[in-house]
């Protein structure tokens, strides 16, 4: 029987890695990811998790060691944040190009400068094109569950790609909340041992990471993006299987009270919860709004998103990162491009909020929605707005 416990969400990640029986963890500490790796080293030290914990000297080496370990055929996990993720940047592309099913939890944090240890999505938005499968978790339960599914999806031979589970730094990592902890035998039934599609083995020598001469580089990239684009049905399949076994159903795009909604919030990550409460409060006040929240960021679930937003409703898209010099935040830019390509005419208002740990409250959501509705009414395009900037 699954047990309901009060647990810090970071520790829930570590417990998920233990339940997944990972073989190697290579990690370097960085706020706000630290509790994840601290607890993992405790689990290894106590013998509860039989794994090699490689305390590398940098994040660059963390991802490099993960590449080596995964290529050797070991189930491999790491976790990072912000500057650490940026330091990994170079190797992130190589991990997916080599098709290594590494799982990483990113405790999302702002990028310097100025240096900020607090939450936003600037770190992960800089890693949008690394060809990894990417999820955004909204609470501790989800981060535990998605981490377990991440191994299954990554290691599925029809996918064979690395996976990132994003969780908001501090807002999730340092929060204690109720979490259903699955039993080991339940997870074992869901997640079989890792069988690598290929590995470094003297009995069958292969060469990995060859020089991509101009005659092959384009084809190599094509094969890699194709794998990501085609991973969608398998992600859904594994999430459905998870639901069948554990009773918690995750979908690439989630809807909250959208059916009769006249305008929609679009969010990603833990603020989706605040947005839900905001929807409830606005509805109680007579305003029919709804929420579409994005759980699967890569590959982007275009059809699910289009189905979720319906026809012509104004969208209030929340970005938690800047795309300087562009006319919108990264999520809004992408959604606008998608809508244009599909001939849709939804009004898209874009707000950049919650940078570097700035709290985003229900009051903020309400104000953003009010601005969206009035701008949509006028029909005039609205430049993106940085919420709460002190003039």
């Amino acid at each position: 029987m699954a047990q309901r416990v009060g647990l810090e969400c970071s520790l829930a990640v570590s417990e998920a890695v233990k339940l997944a029986n990972a073989d190697v963890i290579a990690a370097y500490p960085i706020t706000p990811q630290t509790h994840i790796v601290e607890h993992l080293s405790e689990l290894v030290a106590s013998g509860e998790l039989d794994a090699e914990f490689v305390p590398v000297e940098s994040e660059h080496s963390a991802m490099s060691a993960c590449v080596g370990s995964s290529a050797a055929g070991a189930r491999t996990f790491t976790s990072s944040s912000s500057q650490g993720l940026a330091l990994m940047h170079e190797i992130l592309y190589i991990a997916s190009a080599l098709r290594l099913p590494i799982v990483m939890v990113v405790a999302n944090r702002a990028l310097s400068g100025p240096i900020s240890i607090w939450n936003d999505h600037g770190d992960i938005m800089s890693e949008r094109d690394i060809n990894w499968v990417q999820f955004f978790a909204e609470n501790g339960q989800e981060v535990l569950d998605l981490t377990i599914t991440a191994f299954k999806i990554a290691e599925d031979h029809r996918v064979t790609l690395p996976v990132i589970v994003n969780m908001d730094g501090f807002i999730l990592t340092h929060v204690i909340e109720p979490i259903e902890m699955p039993e080991q035998n339940e997870v074992d039934a869901y997640l079989p041992p890792f069988v690598p599609a290929q590995k470094l083995d003297p009995a069958k020598p292969i060469s990995m990471g060859m020089v991509g001469v101009p005659e092959v580089y384009t084809e190599a990239r094509k094969a890699c993006v194709d794998a990501l684009e085609k991973s969608y049905p398998f992600i859904v399949e594994h999430w459905n299987d998870f639901a069948a076994q554990f009773g918690r159903h995750y979908k690439p795009i989630e809807c909250y009270k959208t059916d009769d909604a006249e305008a929609l919030f679009v969010t990603m990550g833990s603020l989706s919860e605040t947005a839900m409460t905001t929807v409830d409060e606005l509805r109680a006040a007579g305003q029919k709004v709804g929420l579409v929240h994005i759980r699967l960021w890569r590959p982007f679930p275009t059809d699910d998103f289009l189905a979720a937003i319906g026809e012509s409703k104004p969208l209030m898209v929340l970005d938690r990162a800047l795309s300087p010099g562009c006319n919108a935040g990264p999520v809004a830019t992408e959604l606008r491009a998608l809508l244009y390509a599909k001939g849709k005419t939804h009004y898209v208002a874009n707000f950049v909020a919650g940078l570097g740990g700035r709290d985003v409250t229900r009051a903020d959501f309400k104000s953003m929605m009010a601005k969206t509705l009035s701008a949509a009414k006028s029909g005039a395009p609205m430049p993106y707005e940085m919420v709460g900037v002190k003039e």
């Binding site: 190009a97 098709r99 060469s207 060859m210 084809e219």
Partner: protein, 109 residues
């Protein structure tokens, strides 16, 4: 665009790996050699094996028919001349070669 040497993306191994070892053996580096080739005078050869162990291109290999001697392979020899220079008995010397018989015994294919 010419598509010589190109393969379909669908036929690439996972992660663009090369699952067959040592495929470079098919690659002809003999045509890097210009005008001349090293030739061993087996009368002078003392079977020390330096030509074998000091060749960066593995162009020398043990002669299966004459123990202690080494065969030269024009398919790989790039013509650096280390063997000529390092042979302690000056048993290896340069010999002019024509384009048509450049590759010698092509045992690499």
């Amino acid at each position: 665009m010419a598509d010589e040497g190109m393969v379909s993306w669908k036929s690439l191994a996972l992660g663009c790996a090369m699952v067959e070892p040592g495929t470079s053996k098919r690659f002809n580096t003999g045509d890097w050699r210009s005008r001349r080739r090293p030739v061993t005078d087996r009368e002078k050869c003392i079977k020390c094996g330096l030509c074998y162990i000091l060749c960066p291109d593995m162009a020398f290999s043990p002669d299966p028919n004459a123990e202690g001697y080494y065969n030269w392979d024009g398919y790989y020899c790039k013509g650096c001349g280390i063997c000529v220079k390092e042979c302690p008995k000056d048993a290896i010397s340069w010999q002019e070669e024509k384009e048509e018989d450049k590759y010698g015994p092509a045992c690499g294919a």
